[in-house]
Structures are given as C-alpha cells and as structure tokens.
C-alpha cells in the first residue's frame, strides 16, 4: 500500500523559478525522506526530516513537515535545467515484524525548461 502520495504528478517550470512539491501520508511516521531520480537511473537521497522537526534546509532545498496534517513539502529554489527529474517522498515506519521500512510515493515529475 502506498503511504506517501506526491502532488502534483507532473510540474513544468521555467529555469530560475521555484518548484514546490507536496507529499501527504496516512499513518504515524518516524521520519520522512525525499529522493530524486533522474531518468533511467536509481534514486538518490536528498534530505531527511524527523517527525519532531518542522523545517529543514539543504542548499537550494527546503523541506517542511506538518505532522498534524500528515503532509510535507519540498521546495527547490532558483531551479536549473539539471533539476529535471522525478522526486519521491518516502515515509519510514516499523513493520509488524519489527523491521524498519521505507514506503515510497508515486513521485512528482519535474521538468525545468531552460
């Protein structure tokens, strides 16, 4: 079952603009992570935000987490053509067997037009 759901499914912006992607989830989490996937490649970790954090920055990335609304957002400022990729949120939680697992959303496909 999908825990995180990204919105929008696809986003097209001009280079230099900001891009905002949202993620909603259903159950309690320990943390939420964002990953990036370039076309035809594996996922690359971008940032992790813990359940007791509200905002986190990394370079041009800003992530917020609202546990009361069960939602997170990823903001990429001053976008570049090289930011074109799919972005996934992943929520972490313990399975019934006691193993910690990530559940990924379906992703937002970002296109940055030069």
């Amino acid at each position: 079952s999908q825990q995180g759901e990204e919105d929008p499914q696809a986003l097209s912006i001009q280079e230099g603009e900001n891009a905002t992607m949202n993620c909603s989830y259903k159950t309690s989490i320990n943390n939420l992570q964002w990953y990036r996937q370039n076309s035809g490649r594996g996922l690359v970790h971008l940032i992790l935000i813990r359940s007791n954090e509200r905002e986190k920055h990394s370079g041009r990335l800003r992530v917020t987490l609202d546990t009361s609304k069960k939602s997170s957002s990823l903001l990429i400022t001053a976008s570049r053509a090289a930011d074109t990729a799919s972005y996934f949120c992943a929520t972490g939680s313990y399975s019934g067997a006691g193993s910690y697992q990530l559940t990924f959303g379906k992703g937002t496909k970002l296109s940055v037009i030069p």
Binding site: Q33, G42, R50, S99, Y100
Partner: protein, 114 residues
C-alpha cells in the same frame, strides 16, 4: 566497485524461465533491499535483509525469493517468470536498517517478461 552494482542492466526473458538478478555493494552495509518500480505505482518493496543470514518479506514478495549468504551480495530470483513481473528492479542498501537511515540505490535492472 563503488556503491551498489546490479546485473544485468536489462534483460528480455521468456515466461516460465528462471532468472536471478544480482546485487553487490561494497559499503559494508548490513541492510539490503529489493524494490520494483512500475509506471504509476512508484517503488514497492519486494524483500529485505537486515543482516547476512536473515531475510524478510516486503509489500509484494510473491513470485520472488532472496538469499543473503554474505554482507555484500543480495540476489533476487524469479523462479518462473510471468509477464506481470515486467518492471524495473532496484537494489538498495543502508547501514543497519535503522530508522534514521538513508538508503543507497543501484542503477536498476530493466526486465521484460514475454
């Protein structure tokens, strides 16, 4: 080797045939994972292993088996492939499988079952 490697890069397989997807990591990570990625469904966990000698089932384990004889290798076997197993398969690893960890992904294997 740097990070995670997967082999083969791509494969066309006749239905009913047996196939093993290979995954090797050189980061001495204890935890390893297999995901499949399908259009519109995101990534789904097939099997995982928190340490050599142990494995567990993920969200979609049916039709797949894994083994973890040592720390570095985590092969995924399709005993008798079916067309619904057409997908892109990603292997990933993390240090211990703990709840604050980043997962590192391989480049993927693209499998077409006819």
């Amino acid at each position: 080797i740097a990070g995670i490697t997967q082999a083969p890069t791509s494969q066309i397989l006749a239905a009913g045939r047996r196939m093993t997807l290979r995954c090797t990591q050189d980061m001495r990570h204890n935890a390893m994972y297999w995901y499949r990625q399908d259009l519109g469904l995101g990534l789904r966990l097939i099997h995982y292993s928190n340490t050599a000698g142990t494995t567990g089932k993920g969200e979609v384990p049916d039709g797949y088996s894994v083994s973890r004889a040592n720390t570095d290798d985590f092969p995924l076997t399709l005993a008798s492939a079916v067309p619904s197993q057409t997908s892109v398969y990603f292997c990933a690893s993390s240090l211990t499988g703990g709840y604050q960890e980043t997962q590192y992904f391989g480049p993927g294997t693209r499998l077409l079952v006819l």
